[in-house]
Structure formats: structure tokens, C-alpha cells
């Protein structure tokens, strides 16, 4: 009926090229023996070798991963409890108040979260470093977990719980054998998003990290301010591969769990 136009394809191809060109540009020059991001002199793996010999950087990578896993785990636990609390809440006004407060950190710009947390930690006397970074990451990940878990809890039929109770299940049994398995796709999605939020975060960490402790994002920032160094290119390539692996892993987890739980870009 309608004639197929070529324009959509050309337009989309253009958008995708622009979106991916910088990433491939970085990757390409990570193999450049010339030492700049301009002319490609010859193939080398030196930058990767250098990367793996840089113990300082490896420690930073390790820190970043530890922060990400810990903050994702803690925020998932608190977030799931929070979602349960919201669902069990009887008063509508209280429920809505909790939901609005939950979304505050999602819509707040990073700079404000970072600045206000900096004041908070200074006032309650938490030394800037590992603890402050971990606490901030937990804090800004919790609302995302709640958002991912809530729809699953709400679509769950109450008769499932009633049936379990009637058949003699204790409160704990209902939670561990009925509710948690049912909402597990939401929990996985929440955990995964918390993980990526933590790995990606720059702005908040930049404010609350002290002198002794840095994460990868903050380190890349200070390296990049000094100019181009192909170490960063090699590092980016590895991070890019890692991101793709995470996404594929996430994709399969949600796939296996049946329906996908609204993946990605949870920036509201």
C-alpha cells in the first residue's frame, strides 16, 4: 500500500554511525603504536600490557567493582523491603508520600546529590573515602530497585498469598517461597541496574571521594584532564567489552525469567 522509502534506513544508519563512531574510534587507536589519537602508525598491544602492569590502576578497578557489587547487593535488599512496605501500606496518602520521596533521588541532578551528600557526610563526621562512596552509591541505587520491583509486586495476585496462608505457610514461608520467587525478575533487573549505576557514576562519587580513594570514573577524569594517553583507550576498550558482556548476561537472565522487566535507561 505505502511505498517503502529509503529515507528511514539512511537516517537510522546515520544516527547509529554517529552513536557508535566515537566508541570504535577509541578502540581503534588503542592498538596504535604511534601514541596519539590521530595517525595510526602500526599495530601494538603495548597499551594493554602497560595497563596490566599498572598496579595502582588495577587497585582502582578492584575498588570500583567492590563498590558496585556491595552497593548493588545492599540497595537491592533495602529496595525490596521498601517495595514490600509500600505495597503493604494501607493508607493511600502515606503510600503516595513514600513513592514521591522515593523518586526524589531519581530525578535530582547528580551535582545536587553529590553536593548535598558531601555536606551530610561532613556534618555526621564520616571520613570521605570508601565508606562515603559506598553509602552514596547505596543511597542513589535504592529508588531504582524499588521502581523495578514494585510493578512485579503489584501484578501479583493476592489470592496466591491467601492460598499459601490457608495451607498453613508461616509469614516467612510466604515471603521466601511465594513472594520472592514471583518477583525475582524485578529483583534481578533492580540489582543489575544498581550495578550499572554504580559502575557508571562519576558526578556523585567525584564529590564524596576523598584524596585517598578513587573509582575508575574519577580516575579517568583526572587522566583525561591531563590530555590524551592511549592507556585510557585500552582501558575503554576493555570496559566496553565488559559492558556488552553485562548487557548480554542481563538479557539472558531476563529472558530466562520469562517476561522482560522493562530494561534499560532508567533515567526518568
Amino acid at each position: 500500500m505505502k511505498k517503502k522509502s529509503l529515507w528511514p534506513k539512511v537516517y537510522l544508519a546515520f544516527v547509529f554511525i554517529v552513536l557508535y563512531a566515537p566508541i570504535f574510534y577509541l578502540t581503534f587507536y588503542s592498538f596504535n603504536s604511534g601514541g596519539t589519537m590521530n595517525d595510526f602508525e602500526g599495530f601494538t598491544l603495548d597499551w594493554y600490557k602497560e595497563l596490566f602492569q599498572d598496579t595502582r590502576l588495577l587497585i582502582i578497578v578492584l575498588n570500583t567493582i567492590i563498590i558496585a557489587l556491595l552497593s548493588a547487593a545492599i540497595s537491592t535488599i533495602i529496595g525490596v523491603l521498601g517495595a514490600l512496605a509500600i505495597v503493604y501500606m494501607k493508607k493511600r496518602a502515606a503510600k503516595n508520600a513514600l513513592l514521591s520521596l522515593n523518586n526524589v533521588l531519581i530525578v535530582s541532578p547528580d551535582v545536587i546529590i553529590g553536593a548535598s551528600f558531601l555536606i551530610l557526610f561532613t556534618i555526621i563526621g564520616i571520613k570521605l573515602g570508601f565508606t562515603s562512596v559506598l553509602l552514596s552509591h547505596v543511597a542513589f541505587s535504592i529508588p531504582i530497585v524499588v521502581i523495578m520491583v514494585l510493578p512485579k509486586l503489584q501484578e501479583m495476585s493476592l489470592s496466591l498469598i491467601d492460598a499459601a496462608r490457608d495451607l498453613g505457610a508461616s509469614h516467612w514461608d510466604v515471603l521466601s517461597k511465594v513472594i520472592l520467587p514471583y518477583i525475582s525478575p524485578g529483583i534481578f533487573a533492580g540489582f543489575f541496574l544498581a550495578l550499572t549505576y554504580s559502575l557508571d557514576d562519576f558526578a556523585v562519587t567525584f564529590f564524596v571521594t576523598g584524596n585517598g580513594f578513587t573509582t575508575l570514573s574519577v580516575e579517568i577524569y583526572s587522566l583525561a584532564r591531563r590530555g590524551i594517553s592511549l592507556n585510557i583507550n585500552a582501558l575503554s576498550t576493555l570496559l566496553f567489552l565488559f559492558t556488552i558482556l553485562l548487557v548480554i548476561g542481563y538479557y539472558f537472565i531476563t529472558k530466562r525469567n520469562g517476561r522482560t522487566a522493562g530494561a534499560g535507561g532508567g533515567n526518568e
Partner: protein, 267 residues
């Protein structure tokens, strides 16, 4: 017993809300009333209305507006074409994927591409325009910001377009409306909520960017975010920084009310 367990669920979550949602906002408001020497004052807010700051605020808004407008112009057609494609889900995933790559790395890539002898200048040379200073200009700042925010604009628009009932478009065409009129009177009004959430997701972060202003715009562009960062981490004038933060929070609330968010996903 049941009730006790329910209360237990509430404790960590409410503690989190108290400590990390409510307290930080109150602290920012509180600090905005103190000067460098710890005296109570409204001088920070008075300073906000001096020409220097008004100029900074206006330019920050102007850049955020430009970034949002370009994002919308590029993302809307792209989202539309993706919904029409056979490989809709795959294409959507491909759009989202770059948004998961560390922001710093994308900014860093542009340091190379826009450098004096980088790819962009080689291209300009090849088409006969010649080498230009691209890095540390307004253009590079807006370009990189648009690049970074496109997925956040595209996603809500895609969702809105995807939910659009295609029979409405057929009906409009059958009744004699041209493609443009159909878009104007049917498609766009029905997806305006997606556009609004996209604008929200881009405009507010664009006001508060600070990393890209340093790396890509070389301190030429001062956004509200850059100003806050400077006051907190460089000049250590937390009072002034907090006052700007309060201003940013108020702006954010106003934008959200104007673009009229409905609570999504939760009833």
C-alpha cells in the same frame, strides 16, 4: 505478627528516606543561608540576582535549551523509524547500549576526535573547509551533550510511539489527511507525554552538567552544575554553592510541574 513484620520492612527504607533524601535537601537549604565565615545571611541569594550570576543562569538555560531541542529533533524521527522497523527490539537495544558505556569514556573519545589533527578536522580538510578549532568551543560542548543525552530522549518517545494505535493513523489517512497533517494532528499530540518525559530527562541534567564543560568546553561554558561544583570543591564557598543548588532544585520542580508528569508505573 503480620503487622510487626510489615513494620520491620519499613524501618530500613524509611531510615534511608530520612537520612539520604530528606536530610540532604534540608542541609542544602540550611547552608544556603550562611556565608564563608559561618554568619547567617541572605547575601548568597542577593548575589544570585547580580548581573554576573544572572548572565550565568541565562546562558546555562540557553545551552540546556539548545541541547534539548537538538536531542528532540534527532531522536523523534529516529524513534519513529525504529517503531516502524522489523527489528524494533534490536535497534532499541542498540540505541540504549551506548548509554550504558561510561560517560567519561565517551567524553574522552571526543577529545581525540575533535582535536586539531583529529578525525573531525581531517574530514573538514578533505571536504575543503580546512582545519578549525573545534575542541573548547560552544559547538563541541553542545554536540557532545546531545550525543550523550540522545538515548534518554529517544526511549520515552519510542515508548509513546510504540503504544500508539496504528489504526488511528490509517483512519486519518483514509479521511484524506496528508502525512504531515496526520503527524501534526494525530501522531504528535498522542505522543506528547513521551516528548515531555524526554524533555525532562534531558533538560534538567543539561542544566547541571559539569564534567563535559571542563573536558570538552574547556571552562568556556559555565552551567549551573559547573558553578555548584566550583563553589563546593574549588572555592569551598558552600553557602553560595548551596544557594545555586536551591535555585536548581526550584527550577527542576517548576519544569516538572510545567511538563506535567503523571506518576508512571505506580498507582
Amino acid at each position: 505478627m503480620e503487622n510487626r513484620a510489615r513494620k520491620l520492612y519499613l524501618i530500613p527504607y524509611v531510615l534511608w528516606i530520612g537520612l539520604f533524601v530528606v536530610t540532604p535537601i534540608l542541609l542544602v537549604v540550611y547552608y544556603s543561608f550562611f556565608d564563608l565565615n559561618g554568619n547567617f545571611t541572605v547575601a548568597n541569594y542577593e548575589k544570585l540576582f547580580t548581573p554576573v550570576y544572572i548572565k550565568m543562569i541565562l546562558s546555562s538555560f540557553w545551552y540546556a535549551f539548545l541541547i534539548t531541542a537538538f536531542c528532540l529533533l534527532i531522536a523523534y524521527p529516529a524513534a519513529y523509524f525504529i517503531t516502524k522497523s522489523k527489528y524494533k527490539q534490536l535497534l532499541l537495544l542498540l540505541i540504549i547500549l551506548p548509554s550504558w558505556i561510561n560517560l567519561l569514556l565517551k567524553a574522552y573519545a571526543f577529545l581525540g576526535i575533535f582535536s586539531t589533527y583529529g578525525a573531525a578536522n581531517s574530514f573538514l580538510e578533505a571536504v575543503g573547509i580546512g582545519t578549525r578549532q573545534i575542541l573548547f568551543t560552544d559547538f563541541s560542548f553542545v554536540f557532545v551533550a546531545v550525543y550523550i543525552f540522545i538515548p534518554f530522549m529517544l526511549l520515552p518517545i519510542f515508548n509513546a510511539l510504540d503504544k500508539l494505535n496504528p489504526t488511528l493513523i490509517d483512519a486519518s489517512r483514509d479521511l484524506g489527511a496528508s502525512a504531515w497533517i496526520t503527524f501534526q494532528k494525530v501522531v504528535f499530540p498522542l505522543t506528547i507525554d513521551g516528548v515531555k518525559s524526554g524533555v525532562q530527562a534531558v533538560f534538567i541534567p543539561a542544566l547541571s552538567l559539569f564534567m563535559i564543560t571542563r573536558l570538552i568546553a574547556g571552562n568556556r561554558v559555565i552551567t549551573l552544575g559547573t558553578a555548584i561544583e566550583q563553589h563546593f570543591l574549588i572555592t569551598q564557598d558552600w553557602g553560595m554553592g548551596s544557594a545555586i543548588a536551591v535555585f536548581l532544585i526550584i527550577t527542576m520542580v517548576v519544569i516538572m510541574v510545567v511538563t506535567g508528569t503523571r506518576k508512571r508505573g505506580v498507582q
